[in-house]
C-alpha cells in the first residue's frame, strides 16, 4: 500500500517528533476524538514518543463504546424473535448487553449475521423474502450515508422485510457537550478524519471561536497524527485557537455535500443517549416518518427489560477523558478483551482495549 507507507516512514516520524520537542509550551493535554486514532496511537506507540510534550487522552469517538446498554439490549431482544435475521458489523458481536451478547445469542440459536456493508444486509433481505432482516445501524457521520443508502435501495426494490435499528450518533454535538462541561481540561482536539471527510471542518468552528480550544482534523497514520499534534502545539504556543486541517488529502472545509444530502433524505436529527455522556441534545439520528417502513423501532414490538449497567465499570469517565483506562479498578483483571465488562474493552477501537492490547510493552528503542 504505497499510499500508506509514506505516512508510516520512520524518518518522517523522527523528524516530526524532533520538531514537536522544539516547540516551547508547557506540557498539554490533547484529546483524540476518534477511536481509529486511539488504535493508531496505541499500535505505533505514539504516546511514548511525545510524552514529555503532550498527554493524549481518548474521546467519545468509538461507535461501539458510546452505544448505550439499552440499545444493545434492544437489539439482542430483536435477534431472539422468531423469523428475524439480525445483521451487524463485526464489532458488535461481543459487546456485552445486560445479560448476554450477540455471539452467545447466535450459539443459542438466533440467526445473527456479520456483514461488511449495509448493502449486504439489503441483499439478505432480498434473498430471504419470508424473513425480517434487522440491521444494527451504529456509527457516526461516516457510516450513516451507507446505512441511508441501504434504506433507499430497499425502497426502490419495494422490500418490506428490511429494517434498520438506528443508533447513529453525531460528533459535533458530543464535542459541544464536552467543551461545555466544567471539568474538562483539554488543550486541543485531534478531530476525526473520516467523519470530517463527510461533514467538513466548518461544524467545529464553535470550539475554536467560542471556547478557544485549538482543533486539527487528522488522518490515521503515525505521520498524520504527529502532524496534528505539532499543529496543535503551535496553536497553543502562538495563543491561537483555530480549526486546521492536517488531512488535506481527504478532508475539505465543506466535506461531502452529496453524502450529507442522502443522510438528510432518510434521517432526522434527534436527541440521543450516549454511554458516558448521557442524553445529548441533537446528537443522534432517527429514521424520518417518510421512511418509517424501514425503522425497526417502529416495525418490531420489542421491549427489553430495564438495562443493567455493569457494576464498577467506568467506561463513561474514560469516554469523557476524565479517567485513563488503568485508573479503573476493573482494568486488566476483571475486564479484559477475553471477558469485557464495558464496551471500551470490547471494541478494538475502544480506549481500554487499545491500551490493554498495545500498551503493556513500554520502553522506546
Amino acid at each position: 500500500m504505497k499510499f500508506v507507507d509514506e505516512f508510516r516512514d520512520p524518518r518522517a516520524v523522527r523528524e516530526l517528533v524532533e520538531s514537536i520537542k522544539r516547540i516551547e509550551v508547557p506540557r498539554v493535554c490533547l484529546m483524540e476524538v476518534c477511536g481509529t486514532h486511539t488504535m493508531s496511537i496505541a499500535r505505533y506507540g505514539l504516546r511514548e514518543l511525545i510524552a514529555d510534550r503532550a498527554d493524549l487522552i481518548s474521546g467519545p469517538g468509538c461507535p461501539v463504546c458510546v452505544t448505550p446498554q439499552g440499545d444493545i439490549d434492544w437489539f439482542l431482544e430483536a435477534a431472539r424473535l422468531p423469523g428475524v435475521i439480525a445483521v451487524t458489523f463485526g464489532d458488535m458481536m461481543r459487546v456485552p448487553g445486560s445479560h448476554s451478547n450477540l455471539e452467545q445469542e447466535r450459539a443459542r440459536g438466533a440467526d445473527v449475521r456479520v456483514v461488511y456493508s449495509p448493502a449486504d444486509a439489503v441483499e439478505l433481505a432480498r434473498r430471504n423474502a419470508e424473513r425480517q432482516v434487522v440491521f444494527f445501524g451504529v456509527g457516526f457521520e461516516t457510516t450513516a450515508p451507507a446505512v441511508a443508502m441501504s434504506m433507499l435501495e430497499a425502497k426502490s426494490d419495494s422490500l418490506t422485510n428490511y429494517a434498520v435499528f438506528c443508533a447513529h450518533k453525531l460528533i459535533p454535538p458530543a464535542l459541544k457537550a464536552l467543551v461545555e462541561a466544567p471539568d474538562l481540561a483539554v488543550h486541543g482536539f485531534i478531530l476525526p478524519g473520516h467523519v470530517s471527510a463527510i461533514i467538513g471542518s466548518k461544524p467545529y468552528q464553535f470550539i475554536a471561536r467560542e471556547h478557544r480550544v485549538p482543533c486539527v482534523v487528522a488522518g490515521f497514520e503515525p505521520v498524520d497524527v504527529l502532524q496534528a499534534v505539532r499543529m496543535l502545539l503551535l496553536q497553543v504556543a502562538g495563543g491561537r485557537a483555530e480549526v486546521e486541517i492536517a488531512y488535506g488529502r481527504a478532508v475539505s472545509p465543506d466535506g461531502n455535500p452529496k453524502a450529507r444530502a442522502i443522510v438528510g433524505d432518510v434521517f432526522d436529527v434527534t436527541d440521543a443517549r450516549w454511554r458516558g455522556l448521557g442524553e445529548v441534545p441533537a446528537s443522534g439520528l432517527a429514521i424520518n416518518p417518510e421512511h418509517a417502513l424501514f425503522d425497526a423501532r417502529r416495525r418490531l414490538d420489542v421491549t427489553p427489560p430495564p438495562a443493567v449497567e455493569p457494576k464498577g465499570c467506568r467506561c463513561g469517565e474514560v469516554l469523557k477523558g476524565a479517567l485513563v483506562p488503568e485508573e479503573c479498578a476493573l482494568f486488566g483483571n476483571r475486564c479484559t478483551p477475553r471477558d469485557p465488562v464495558g464496551p471500551c474493552m470490547v471494541s478494538s477501537e475502544g480506549a481500554c482495549a487499545a491500551r490493554y492490547r498495545y500498551g503493556r510493552a513500554g520502553g522506546a528503542a
Partner: protein, 336 residues
C-alpha cells in the same frame, strides 16, 4: 455472563480455544505426551520415535483461490508432522459428506488431496466415509490423520526456544486467511490473493539435512503468527520480539487487512513455518530454506529474549514496542 455454550470463537485458534483445549481436552485425556501441546504427539515404538497427528478441516467455501479443502487436508497434517521434525509416512482420511453434495466436487477434492500427498511423498492408506442429512454438515468435512518418523537426534519442541535464538519464516503471512475471507464474503477488492497452502515437509527436511539445530517449529494456522509465537513464548518461558519492518506481508494482503481492520499477525497461514534456532545458524538456515520448495521468501523476523517470559512483542517501525496478543476468538472486521 454465562460461558456454558460453545461459540464459534472457541474454534478460532485464539485465547478461547486455548482455554477450551486446556480445560476440557488436556484435562480430560491427561497424559505427558498430550501435556507437551506439540502439533504432533511423539512416542517411542520399537526403538523409533513415532509422531502422530490428526486435524479436521472445515472451510467455507470448499474451493478457494490457491486450493481447496482436499489440498488443505493433506498439507495441514503433513505440516503438523513437520513441526516436530517428522517425515510423513502415511495418512488416513475421514470424509463427512452432506446429503446432496455434488460428486464432481468430492472427486475434485479427493484429486487435490492425492496431488498434495504425492508432492509430500506420502500415501493415504486407509479412510472412512459418512453421509449426514442435508443441513447437518456444510458440504464436506475432512479429517486427516498422519503418521511420521522423527529422525535420530532431532529434538524440536515449542518448549525449546532459548534466549538469543532467532525467528525465521519462509515468506509472506496472512495469505490463506485473507484468500478464504475474500472468497467467502465475495469481496470485490480487485486484489489477487491466493492461499499459501503447501506441504512443508521438504523445507523442514532441508533444514535438518543442512545440520541446523532446530529448537522450535510451528506452522502458524488459525490465530496466525501471533497465536503460534504466544504458544512458543509461553511453553519456552521466553519473550519473542518481532521487528515490524521485517515482517513479510504481500501488498495485496496488507491492503485487504487494512480495509477490514485486521492484524496480519492474527490471520491464518497454511504454507508457512516459523523456525526458531540459534542466531549463529541463521545464515545456514536461510540458505537451506531458500533452496527448498516454498522457502524462497525466507527471512529473519525476530529474536528470542530472556523475558518477560510468555510475552510476544513487536518493535514498531517508528520505534516503540507493543504487545502482540493472540486473538480472543473469531476475527471481526471494524466499523469505520
Amino acid at each position: 455472563m454465562s460461558d456454558d455454550l460453545i461459540l464459534l470463537s472457541h474454534g478460532a485458534g485464539g485465547q478461547l480455544m486455548a482455554e477450551l483445549i486446556d480445560q476440557v481436552f488436556v484435562r480430560g485425556f491427561d497424559n505427558p505426551v498430550l501435556r507437551a501441546r506439540e502439533d504432533s504427539g511423539v512416542i517411542e515404538l520399537a526403538g523409533r520415535r513415532i509422531a502422530l497427528t490428526t486435524d479436521s478441516f472445515v472451510v467455507t467455501p470448499v474451493v478457494f483461490p490457491g486450493g481447496d479443502i482436499g489440498k488443505l487436508a493433506a498439507c495441514g497434517t503433513v505440516n503438523d508432522l513437520a513441526a516436530v521434525g517428522a517425515e510423513a509416512v502415511a495418512l488416513a482420511t475421514s470424509f463427512i459428506l452432506e446429503e446432496g453434495l455434488e460428486q464432481s466436487l468430492l472427486r475434485r477434492c479427493v484429486a487435490s488431496l492425492r496431488a498434495a500427498a504425492d508432492e509430500a511423498g506420502v500415501r493415504v492408506i486407509t479412510g472412512d466415509t459418512k453421509v449426514v442429512p442435508r443441513g447437518s454438515a456444510d458440504e464436506l468435512f475432512v479429517t486427516t490423520t498422519g503418521l511420521g518418523l522423527v529422525p535420530e537426534g532431532v529434538q524440536i519442541s515449542a518448549a525449546n526456544a532459548r534466549p538469543s535464538d532467532v525467528v525465521l519464516i519462509n515468506g509472506g503471512i496472512a495469505e490463506h486467511g485473507m484468500a478464504v475471507l475474500c472468497a467467502r464474503e465475495g469481496m470485490d477488492f480487485d486484489l489477487d490473493i491466493g492461499s499459501d497452502c503447501a506441504p512443508l515437509n521438504r523445507l523442514v527436511a532441508a533444514l535438518i539435512t543442512a545440520g541446523c539445530d532446530l529448537h522450535a517449529l510451528r506452522d502458524p494456522t488459525r490465530g496466525g503468527v501471533a497465536a503460534a509465537l504466544n504458544e512458543i513464548a509461553q511453553q519456552s518461558g521466553v519473550c519473542i520480539e518481532l521487528r515490524e519492518e521485517a515482517l513479510p506481508v504481500a501488498p495485496a494482503v496488507r491492503t485487504a487487512c487494512e480495509l477490514l481492520g485486521l492484524d496480519p499477525l492474527q490471520v491464518a497461514n497454511e504454507g508457512k513455518m516459523l523456525v526458531i534456532l540459534p542466531e549463529p545458524q541463521a545464515e545456514r538456515a536461510l540458505a537451506a530454506m531458500g533452496a527448498a520448495p516454498y522457502g524462497a521468501g525466507a527471512v529473519v523476523i525476530g529474536r528470542v529474549l530472556e523475558g518477560p517470559a510468555g510475552r510476544v512483542q513487536l518493535r514498531t517501525a517508528v520505534g516503540p514496542a507493543r504487545i502482540v496478543d493472540r486473538p480472543v476468538g473469531e476475527l471481526m472486521p471494524r466499523i469505520c
